[in-house]
C-alpha cells in the first residue's frame, strides 16, 4: 500500500480549476518531485494534502485513512509536515523556540502543568529541548539557537523551517520550493540534507523549479500543467517526455 494516495483530486476557486482530477501515489521512503510551470497547481496540491483547503472532489488517503474533514493541525499530528514557499517562521521567537513549537503535537503540557511546572512537565520540557537541539545540530544551526529566527540569513531560515517541520515527527515531509533563492553552494548543501532526511526513514514530496535538484534526488516525478497531471515517471522518462517539454518550452510550431 502506498503511504499516500491522491485520487482524482479536484479543487476549483470560483470558475478556476486550480487542480483538475489529479491522481498520484507516494510510496514509503521515496522522494517524489512535483513540478510544473508557474500556476500549474503545485502549491494548491500541497494545501489540499495538508488540509488548508478541502478538495472540491476526490480523496486523499494517508496510510489508508481518508483525510477529508481533518483540520491542518490534525493532519500534522497524523504525520504530514510541510514547509512554505514564502518562508513562514515565527520571526520574533528564537531558533530553538521555533523547533520547540514543532513538537507541540507530540507533547502534552497544559495550562495547569505550565504554571505549576511539576516533575513530569519539567521532564517533558527537558526532553523537548534535547530533541530540538539534536534537530538544530542536524541542520547545522545549533550555534544560532538563541538568535531570533528573522535575523537568520535566507538559506538558514529555509533550513530552520525544515527542522521545525521535522520536529513534528512526520512520516511524510512536504517541501515547497526548498531551494528557491539559494545560491549553488546552498543548493548542494540542501541536496545533502534532503538525502539525509530520507535516510532517517522519511518520505519526501517536493515542489521545486531547480532542475538540478529535482533530477538529482527524486526517485519519481509528477508533472502538472494547468491543474492537470501530464506525466508521471522517473527523472529520465520525464526528461524525454514530449508533453513535458512542450509544457515547459512551448510547441515548436
Amino acid at each position: 500500500m502506498a503511504l499516500l494516495e491522491a485520487k482524482k483530486l479536484t479543487m476549483t476557486f470560483g470558475g478556476l480549476m486550480a487542480v483538475d482530477s489529479v491522481s498520484f501515489n507516494i510510496e514509503q521512503g521515496e522522494i517524489l518531485g512535483l513540478i510544473g510551470p508557474n500556476g500549474a497547481g503545485k502549491t494548491t496540491c500541497f494545501n489540499l494534502l495538508t488540509g488548508i483547503y478541502q478538495p472540491t472532489s476526490g480523496e486523499i488517503l494517508f496510510k489508508g485513512e481518508n483525510l477529508r474533514g481533518y483540520k491542518t493541525y490534525e493532519v500534522t499530528k497524523k504525520g504530514i509536515a510541510r514547509t512554505f514557499q514564502n518562508i513562514r517562521l515565527f520571526g520574533a521567537m528564537t531558533v530553538l523556540e521555533n523547533v520547540l513549537i514543532g513538537q507541540h503535537c507530540r507533547t502534552k503540557t497544559g495550562l495547569f502543568g505550565a504554571i505549576t511546572r511539576l516533575g513530569s512537565v519539567k521532564k517533558e520540557e527537558e526532553n523537548a529541548r534535547e530533541k530540538a537541539e539534536e534537530l538544530l545540530k542536524f541542520v547545522g544551526l545549533l550555534e544560532k539557537k538563541n538568535e531570533k529566527a528573522k535575523n537568520l540569513p535566507y538559506g538558514e531560515q529555509r533550513r530552520l523551517e525544515i527542522a521545525r517541520a521535522l520536529a513534528t515527527d512526520p512520516e511524510l515531509l512536504l517541501l515547497d520550493e526548498p531551494a528557491a533563492g539559494m545560491n549553488p553552494q546552498e543548493t548542494n548543501d540542501l541536496i545533502d540534507l534532503i538525502k539525509q532526511i530520507r535516510q532517517m526513514g522519511k518520505t519526501i514530496l517536493l515542489i521545486e523549479h531547480d532542475m538540478k535538484l529535482v533530477m538529482g534526488i527524486c526517485d519519481r516525478i509528477v508533472v502538472l500543467d494547468y491543474g492537470k497531471k501530464i506525466a508521471d515517471g522517473t527523472p529520465k522518462e520525464i526528461r524525454e517526455n514530449s508533453r513535458v517539454i512542450k509544457a515547459y518550452l512551448g510547441d515548436p510550431d
Binding site: 483540520k71 512554505f84 515565527f90 521567537m93 507530540r106 503540557t109 505550565a114 504554571i115 520540557e125 523537548a128
Partner: protein, 287 residues
Amino acid sequence: MFNAYYLQVLVVVGINTILALGLNLITGITGQLSLGHAAFMSIGAYTSAILSLKYQLPFAVVLLSGAFMAAFFGIILGFPTLRLSGDYLAITTLGFAEITKVVLLNMESAGKALGLAGIPQKANVYNVYVLVIVVVFALIRLINSRVGRAFQAIREDEIAAEATGIPITRYKIMAFAIGSFLAGLGGGLYAHYLTYINPTDFGFLKSIEILNMVVLGGMGSIPGSVLGALILTVVPEMLRFVQDYRMLFYGVVLIFLMIFRPNGLLGGVSLTKMLSTRKRRNLETNN
C-alpha cells in the same frame, strides 16, 4: 511618607497591573486585538460586588467568582469570533463592551445608573500585591512553556502555527479566557477597594487606557506591562492640576512613543531572558 493618598495610588497601580497583564496576554502575546477589556473588568466587578452585598460571601470566593464569570463570558464571546482571523475580535469586543455597559445601566440588581455603593472594602495593598506577584509569576511560567509558545506562534503566523500542529482556535480562546479572567480579577479588586462602582467606570476609555499601558510598556513583555501600568497610573496623578488635559497627555505620550520606541518601552524584553543573559555574562567574565 505612606499617607492614605499614596497608598491608594499604589493599590490602583497594582490593580491596573493585573488588568494590563491580562490584556497583554490576549493582545501582546497571542496577537488578538481586544478593545473591550474594561467590559470583562466590569463583569468581574459587578459579579463580586453583588455576591458581597447580597450574600456576604468571603472575599476570596467573590473575587474568584467574578474572575470566572468574566472568563466564562470571554469563552462565550471568543467561541464564534476567534475562529476567524483578522480584526473581527476588535470589532466584536468593542460592541460587546457597549452592550455590557447598557445592560448594567438597565439592570435592577446592578443598581442601574446609580451603580453599587457600600461594597465592603476588602482589598488592600497586601492582598492586591500578593495577587500581582502570583499573576506575574504564573504568566512568566506560562509564556515559557508549551502553551505560551503556542500563543506566541499564533501571533507570529497563524497559518504556520496551524501547520505546525497547533489547534489555533482552541489556543486563542484559551488566551482570551485567561486574559478575561485576569480582567475580572482586577475588576473584583477594584470594586472592593473603591467600594463604589458605576457602569461608566468601565467604558471604552478604560479599555483604551489599559491598552495604552500594554502598548507603552511593550507588547508581549511582562515587565513592560508592569511598567506601563505604573507610569500611566502615577503620571496622571502627578498631572492632577491639569486634569482636563489628561487625554491630551495620553495622545502626546503615545505619539512620542511611536516615534522613539515603536515597540514600547520594554518591547522584546523578557525577564527570564534578561536574567539568563546576565548569568551568561557573569560566567564569561569569570572565565
